[in-house]
């Protein structure tokens, strides 16, 4: 009964700050590929190259988004195909 009186109704802002930092710093300290954003331009270049083997697309048609969270990061890759994109003729 008393616990509900003493527990803050919403997490307070100091707790929010600590949570945000813990998530961010866990990624930064890990030093893995997801922490180091330098791999993303290369990944994007490679994806573009692969897709271009099969489809005619623009140089900026590949959009890479990264969302970091506690135990899971998600990488979202959007490839915009123009209306008139054609399949490349096979050699």
């Amino acid at each position: 009964m008393f616990s509900s009186l003493f527990r803050p109704r919403k997490p307070n802002s100091a707790q929010t700050a600590k949570d945000r930092l813990q998530i961010l710093l866990a990624h930064e300290r890990a030093g893995g590929s997801v922490a180091n954003p330098d791999f993303l331009p290369m990944l994007q270049r490679d994806i573009l190259e692969v897709v271009r083997k099969h489809l005619e697309i623009d140089g900026d048609a590949v959009d890479v988004k990264l969302e970091r969270s506690d135990d899971l990061s998600s990488l979202e890759i959007n490839i915009e195909l123009p209306g008139n994109s054609r399949q490349r003729p096979r050699a």
Binding site: S13, R20, L24, N36, P37
Partner: protein
């Protein structure tokens, strides 16, 4: 026509990033398409204050070096329609910033945005120099405290000599205005803190606004929300007025108190988060 505005101070910890976040959010709230750029290469912080730290993929340096397109690096704010953040790199050092690279990015942004707010790093070295170099206007963030005022004076000297407009030599200058932050009206009245007039007398530039010391600034930073979005905050009201003046409105200068007073019952019952 778009405007490049640098938020600068010389001294660290006076509220440059807090002010950059608040001013850019305020401009966006008024319907101006606005981007805020973090120039503090290697010590990325604007993304945390704006609350978009988990969404950074590409950064300012990637764009300068041609590794990513500008539109891939811009992060669209989830609260305000007209607001974008261009984060800086956490891994490179300040030498990755070049005058040509900064110009290229700013020119591209000028085509799309009404306001480009440059959040300067502390100090007067490369990052700070390039943050102010292409500015049309400057917001000089100053605390009513001796070292901050001294550093602001130094920065004003640089704005008048080491910027693109100053180097043109045709008499044009970066328009610099003072944003006095962490001001405590009660302590100033008691003579424990320099008054607004004292600081203005020394720096001799127009006053853009007086932001009161407020507990809501830390709360906003904890939560990753520009403080100007907190309706209970006296600092938010003061930032709103400052933004109005920045876009050319005549708004009477008021010294607001930092925190809205709550009634006795409210304090007793309402533990609002």
């Amino acid at each position: 026509m778009s405007k490049v505005i640098v938020v600068t101070s010389g001294k660290g910890g006076v509220g440059k990033t807090t002010s950059s976040a608040a001013i850019s959010a305020g401009l966006a709230m008024r319907g101006h398409k606005t981007v805020v750029i973090d120039f503090d290469v290697g010590l990325r912080n604007l993304d945390m204050i704006m609350g978009c730290e988990r969404r950074v993929v590409f950064d300012f340096i990637n764009v300068i070096q041609g590794d990513a397109k500008l539109k891939q690096a811009l992060i669209k704010d989830r609260r305000l329609e007209n607001l974008y953040v261009l984060p800086t790199s956490q891994t490179r050092d300040k030498d990755a910033l070049t005058k040509e690279g900064v110009k290229k990015v700013l020119d591209e942004l000028r085509e799309d945005f009404d306001y480009i707010v440059c959040d300067s790093p502390a100090g007067i070295e490369r990052g700070a120099h390039l943050a102010m170099y292409y500015a049309d206007e400057a917001v000089v963030v100053t605390n009513p405290e001796v070292s901050s005022v001294r550093d602001s004076d130094r920065v004003l000297g640089l704005l008048n000599s080491k910027t693109f407009l100053a180097e043109k030599g045709d008499g044009s200058n970066v328009k610099a205005q003072l944003l006095l932050t962490r001001f405590d009206p009660a302590r100033s009245a008691k003579g424990e803190m320099m008054s607004v007039q004292d600081v203005l007398e020394i720096l001799a530039i127009p006053l853009l606004g007086i932001i009161p010391e407020s507990t809501t600034v830390l709360k906003a930073s904890n939560e990753g929300t520009p403080v100007i979005l907190d309706e209970t905050s006296g600092a938010a009201k003061a930032y709103m007025d400052a933004v109005g003046r920045l876009v050319g409105e005549q708004i009477e200068m008021k010294v607001t108190s930092g925190d809205q007073r709550r009634g006795f019952l409210q304090r007793l019952l309402g533990r609002t988060a």
